[in-house]
């Protein structure tokens, strides 16, 4: 009984391997993110962006090394750290050397530690961690390691850029900070307090609070507090349903000031805000979508939309991950030994297809890039999100944001 089922595991595992192993000369990248459950929308959209980037930017131009092709292999981690570690093991067993993950800093924390331990314990099949979206600053500070590369601006860098813009706005006198009660929410709050204190000591922080993550049904009571505090601006790191809930609640209940966010776009959020968000909703992120930076970027986006009409390029940096990885593999001359690839990635400078320059900082493997403050609008938007007619338009840009920001990372190199 038990045996026959276990045999089933083996067949299922081998079969799933063979199902994906299309050609011999493929370089596989494991995409470990939620593909089922409440965050599957974000995960699936990310997967499409990866597949499209690999296809368009690498495979269509002849591949890397001697014509090796990139292949994205999807693993569903159900946004659970435990499942992520199981899928990581499956990926390593399939001979995959590159792990891409982005949704949830909690998962990223688990993965980076597991990969560090794995690489220490198994020097023969080491893997690299390409973090494209988890922005907890700790990942490139106290918890940094040689195998982890972050392609997104971390929460501190984004806040640095955001507060640069806020500091220039004299109408802002009172700021309310609200976020989800976990590491990222706390990081946003701490960074906001620190940077505002440095740049505009006259700004009063009239509220700074955390709410339970994913549990709040109705944000009205929080809104009442924000209104009572007469805040001129709100900063929040909320994402998902918490973002929509908070945003709609404040806007419905009469708030008209700017609402500075990290993640209030795409995956249904842009559509959910619609007209209500215009004028208030701001978003800090890398990657310029509107107006298109150049013809190449526009063409790329158009091609993506043609293939995935319901999709959005909500994480422009995914193209950077693919391009920089391809470049590093070419430089290192190998796709199997990740150590020289990691050394090639360290300190790499790159021109992104979005027309900006990137630098992977050696000290902590944090990418340095332009960070934009976007406005949610339907005016002048070439590429909208969620096919809603609304999208993000670059309001202002901070070039090479926080390039000289300090890091507490003590990188140990092999």
């Amino acid at each position: 009984m038990r045996k026959s089922i276990s045999l089933g595991v083996a067949t299922a595992l081998t079969l799933s391997v063979s199902a994906f192993a299309v050609a011999a000369d493929t370089i596989k990248i494991a995409f470990i993110d939620p593909l089922s459950g409440p965050f599957a929308g974000t995960g699936v959209n990310g997967l499409h962006q990866y597949e499209f980037a690999a296809e368009t930017l690498v495979n269509a131009t002849g591949g890397v090394l001697d014509g090796d092709m990139f292949e994205i292999v999807a693993f569903d981690n159900k946004i659970s750290p435990k499942e992520s570690l199981i899928q990581l093991q499956v990926a390593i067993d399939q001979g995959i050397r590159f792990i891409a993950q982005g949704n949830s800093s909690g998962v990223a924390n688990a993965l980076t530690e597991a990969i560090d331990k794995h690489n220490r314990r198994n020097p023969d099949d080491r893997v690299l961690f390409l973090n494209y979206s988890a922005v907890d600053p700790a990942l490139t500070n106290d918890k940094c390691n040689f195998w982890h590369f972050r392609f997104d601006a971390n929460a501190d860098i984004k806040m640095d850029a955001l507060t640069d813009v806020m500091a220039a706005d004299d109408s802002i006198k009172k700021v309310y900070i609200i976020g989800q009660d976990y590491s990222f929410g706390k990081a946003v709050s701490a960074a906001a307090v620190r940077f505002l204190g440095e740049k505009r000591p006259d700004i009063e922080i009239v509220g700074n609070e955390l709410h339970p993550i994913g549990k709040v049904k109705d944000f009205t009571p929080y809104t009442r507090k924000i209104m009572a505090a007469e805040a001129d601006a709100i900063i929040t790191g909320n994402w998902g349903a918490d973002m929509v809930g908070l945003g709609r609640s404040v806007l419905e209940n009469g708030y008209t000031g700017p609402l500075y966010t990290y993640y209030a776009a795409a995956d249904g959020i842009t559509a959910a805000f619609g007209d209500a968000g215009v004028g208030s909703l701001k978003l800090v992120a890398e990657g310029q979508i509107n107006p298109p930076a150049n013809d190449r970027a526009a063409a790329y986006y158009e091609a993506f939309k043609a293939k995935y009409p319901d999709g959005n390029i909500s994480q422009a940096r995914i193209t950077n991950v693919i391009e920089m990885l391809a470049k590093a593999i070419n430089e290192a001359g190998t796709a199997t030994d990740v150590v020289p690839i990691a050394y090639a990635l360290e300190g790499m400078e790159h021109e992104s297809i979005w027309g900006t320059s990137l630098k992977m900082r050696e000290a902590d493997h944090q990418i340095i890039q332009d960070v934009h403050i976007h406005a949610h609008t339907n005016d002048g938007v070439t590429f909208d999100y969620d096919n809603s007619g609304f999208g993000l338009l670059v309001d202002s840009t901070v070039t090479m944001a926080a390039a000289d920001s300090p890091t507490s990372c003590k990188m140990r190199r092999p």
Binding site: H211, P212, G214, K217, T220, P221, K225, V244, A272, G274
Partner: protein, 318 residues
């Protein structure tokens, strides 16, 4: 002072919404002894159906039709699912509804996908009813209050003034006797289940636009509905109302005011450690009421179960 009034209104909306769910559940629970774990899933179905209907026929038809469909579905679940499981006892019944909740969530994702639906309030109600000290009260909230109160009155009328209501009330207290009197208890069960789930459907229709229509909406509300009826007392409609409002106001007020544990501890004569970030008690010191607002109902329920197992207004043990 104005803020208190505003929060009272907000809490009332939350409480009444909860009541629409718990009213149906408490009827079902006390008649059939079934803790219907899928109750909030019917609420979700109500929102999704109404969204789909509103695309073609507008919000108001959604409000009319969606609860009917949900009610029919609910009755079907009772007839073809629960009744079958009933013979195995209460625990399998409960587990059945638990599995049903999982299944409904999966089916919703299968049909509508995983993203939030762009289901919004009708245009007629998209204005501010009135403002209190700069706090806007949207007209839709007033509408929600009226709908809930209308339903409560209607329910009360049916239960106390009609023959069916009399039978149901009798069945609440003496299910065996009522059957012995020759009433078709299985039919009553099916009807109560259908009406109960339809009520949940109504709640879904009117809450969907405000609280969001997404596959996790049932889970977010799920167990809090049980908590409500356990606190209120099983089988007691008034108990469900009192508990719903209590929970609505408790959570609203503890979110709307930052009561800090620090103040309480100092008032109790404890001394705050100088290096708070290194103290093992730092989490206790930094605790605020919004952080624990959503778990207060659970604390309340555990205390009630320990000290008053039949709930605030209930007559039978849970």
């Amino acid at each position: 002072m104005d803020l208190i009034l505003v929060n009272l209104i907000d809490g009332l909306v939350t409480g009444l919404l909860l009541f629409m769910l718990s009213a149906g559940l408490t009827l079902i629970f006390s008649m059939m002894g079934v803790l219907n774990f899928a109750h909030a899933s019917f609420y979700m179905l109500g929102a999704y159906f109404a969204f789909q209907i509103s695309l073609y026929l507008g919000f108001w038809m959604g409000l009319l039709i969606a609860p009917l469909i949900v009610g029919v579905l609910g009755a079907g679940v009772e007839r073809y699912g629960l009744r079958r499981v009933h013979q195995y006892g209460h625990v399998p019944e409960l587990i059945f509804t638990f599995g049903l909740a999982l299944l409904i969530e999966e089916v919703v994702q299968f049909i509508w996908g995983k993203s939030q639906m762009a289901y919004s309030t009708p245009e007629v109600l998209q204005f501010t009813a009135f403002s209190i000290a700069g706090n806007a009260i949207p007209a839709y909230k007033i509408f929600m209050i009226f709908i809930s109160i209308a339903i409560f009155i209607g329910l009360l009328w049916v239960l106390t003034r009609t023959r069916v209501g009399m039978i149901i009330q009798a069945a609440l207290t003496y299910p065996k006797t009522v059957e012995a009197l020759g009433h078709n208890v299985p039919l009553i069960f099916m009807g109560v289940f259908g009406v109960g789930t339809a009520l949940a459907g109504v709640a879904g229709v009117i809450a969907g636009p405000v609280l969001g229509t997404f596959p996790g909406m049932a889970f977010v509300l799920g167990s809090i509905v049980f908590v409500t009826i356990v606190i209120g007392g099983l089988g007691s409609l008034w108990g469900a109302l009192v508990a719903s409002l209590l929970i609505g106001w408790i959570t609203t007020f503890s979110k709307a005011y930052n009561l800090r544990m620090e103040d309480l501890l100092i008032a109790l004569g404890f001394e705050k450690p100088d290096v708070i970030w290194d103290s093992p008690w730092r989490d206790l010191w930094s605790l605020t009421s919004p952080q624990i607002a959503d778990i207060l109902p659970y604390i309340l329920m555990v205390l009630i179960l320990i000290f008053r197992p039949h709930g605030l207004l209930g007559k039978r043990d849970a």
